[in-house]
């Protein structure tokens, strides 16, 4: 306002607090040191646990305390991994599973958000469909694997399984997020003359981004489950196929290697999502 108004100094910007202008004190440095130290200790224990797990596995199998025919052992995995990578098209199988997971994930995300938006749009539609959704979500979708194989063929039944497993949770989580939009934020948009479509596009969707990230997190794990289950039944490629194939010829090395690759893939996807989540948390904080 006008410069003669002394009240301008009443509110100070929180974001511009002059924290960094001074030298950090010794106590603060020590506190930071302790924080770093704690972080490192957690990391070290995690790695230790992982080593312990593989060490025990190796030891128990070597000493025949468990039957290595049934469990294989870690040191046998690496040669199998190399062998599969060179002659067994491991990259191809991994890529097939990854691709199918991405297709299922994107499809169920888009479909889920679209259906959730439709439910948000019309309370009537929501009230009609609600019990069906609850039942569909509770149903073990794995029961559909053979049917999907007949209906959709070997490729599309894998996608179909991923979508069937992931989409209902996405619908429900996204819808809950849309419903939880602060009614006053919607009222504000309405006082400015917003149409229902504008409320959806400018308030409800952007305001639900943290919820949608949570849905995304669940969705990607479930898509992977769907893909592997689909591949068990119907596919001639993918890590699920490798697992089933390996177990049928009793090559546990192959099964275990495929599972380790699967674990690495899950970890990688988790890391990517954690990044996305951290980036949005900064905005929505």
């Amino acid at each position: 306002m006008n410069s003669s108004n002394p009240s301008l100094t009443v509110a100070t910007p929180v974001g511009k607090a002059p924290v960094s202008s001074r030298q950090p004190s010794a106590a603060y440095k020590a506190w930071l040191q302790r924080q770093r130290h704690d972080k490192h200790r957690v990391l070290a224990v995690r790695l230790g646990l992982l080593c312990l797990f593989f060490g025990l596995w190796e030891l128990l199998a070597r000493t025949k305390l468990v039957n290595p025919m049934l469990t294989s052992y870690p040191s046998a995995l690496w040669p199998t991994f190399i062998d599969l990578a060179q002659n067994g098209h491991l990259a191809l199988h991994t890529w097939a599973t990854f691709k199918a997971t991405m297709v299922g994930f994107v499809t169920s995300m888009v479909l889920g958000i679209a259906v959730a938006a439709a439910l948000w749009w019309s309370a009537f539609v929501y009230r009609v469909l609600d019990p069906f959704l609850v039942v569909a979500n509770a149903m073990p979708k794995i029961a559909f694997v053979p049917i999907f194989y007949i209906w959709l063929g070997s490729d599309y039944s894998v996608y179909g399984m991923a979508v069937a497993i992931a989409v209902f949770v996405t619908i429900m989580v996204a819808y809950d997020g849309f419903q939880a939009t602060d009614p006053n934020k919607i009222k504000l948009a309405k006082t400015l003359g917003a149409s229902r479509w504008q409320v959806l596009r400018l308030v409800v969707l952007p305001g639900s981004v943290p919820t949608l990230i949570a849905a995304l997190k669940m969705n990607i794990g479930l898509s992977l489950v769907g893909v592997i289950v689909g591949e068990f039944q119907s596919s001639s490629e993918g890590l699920g196929f490798l697992i089933v194939n390996g177990s049928q010829v009793f090559k546990l090395n192959i099964v275990m290697t495929a599972i380790v690759v699967l674990a690495l893939m899950s970890a990688l996807m988790y890391l990517v999502i954690a990044r996305v989540e951290a980036a949005t948390a900064r905005r929505y904080g």
Partner: protein, 269 residues
């Protein structure tokens, strides 16, 4: 005190005619407002006071066109209000800034919704934010700002689409008392300089007296107009005192006592 019959002047900016509102729940029917008539002249600041639940915010929603009255009607500049219009700006109890938009984009929300010329709107938004002392924070996000600063952005957002009428629904109730006094001064300053007509709803008698030209008292539910008080500060001489100055003038206490008695406050419980 004014005679309610004389308020229906032809040059009124806002005319509320015999508005009643009933609303229904499964438990029964409630009459929230009963036969409210009120006019606001161009450039006039009117406040509506009453206790919680007397329907004063409901009346504001009806004037804004987001709630339809059961009987009666509202017109702005002679045109009946049937839904939200660009000529009315509404400032809510809290800022409700969208945390995913920066300050400038928040201020531009109305222009975007009403599909205005965005280049022009951007220019006006920057000017208004500067006028509200927020010129240095255009690229900041709401959570980086204090409550007072956020409410200033909300004021700029209300004014970007250049409404003739601004409705204020207890706009300072979420702020601490020092910030309230400071922001009230700034808001009145900006609104007067922009020549707006203002309807302020509040339960704070001091805020009503210091900020507006006329105070309308609503009764308990169902809300009816109990009385109207023209607020003048002859001891200040010509021109209107700022809200902060008004609070230390002798007339302030006289009005305060009169309104306090009108409100007939009982502490319950």
């Amino acid at each position: 005190m004014m005679n309610p019959a004389q308020v229906a002047s032809p040059q009124a900016r806002i005319a509320v005619r015999a508005v009643s509102l009933n609303y229904f729940t499964a438990q029964g029917e409630t009459q929230a407002l009963q036969d409210i008539s009120l006019t606001v002249a161009p450039g006039e600041f009117v406040s509506i006071i009453g206790q919680s639940g007397c329907g004063k915010s409901t009346l504001l929603s009806i004037i804004a066109g987001i709630l339809e009255p059961s009987r009666g009607g509202v017109s702005v500049d002679g045109r009946p209000v049937t839904g939200p219009t660009a000529s009315i700006g509404y400032m809510l109890q809290q800022d409700y800034l969208y945390e995913w938009r920066n300050i400038l984009d928040n201020a531009l929300l109305g222009a975007q919704i009403q599909k205005r010329d965005m280049a022009q709107a951007r220019q006006r938004a920057v000017t208004l934010l500067q006028k509200c002392g927020m010129g240095d924070f255009l690229a900041h996000y709401p959570r980086q700002l204090s409550g007072g600063m956020r409410q200033r952005v909300a004021l700029a957002r209300t004014l970007v689409t250049n409404p003739d009428v601004v409705l204020l629904d207890e706009p300072f109730s979420a702020l601490d008392s020092q910030t309230r006094l400071a922001i009230a001064d700034e808001v009145v300053d900006v609104l007067r300089s922009e020549g707006k007509s203002v309807v302020l709803v509040t339960h704070d008698i001091g805020e009503a007296i210091s900020m507006t030209d006329r105070v309308v008292v609503l009764s308990r539910r169902p809300g009816r107009i109990k009385s109207e008080h023209q607020i003048r500060f002859p001891s200040h001489g010509a021109g209107r005192p700022t809200p902060l100055q008004a609070r230390s003038l002798p007339e302030f206490n006289t009005y305060f006592n009169a309104l306090w008695n009108e409100l007939d406050v009982h502490v319950e419980g």
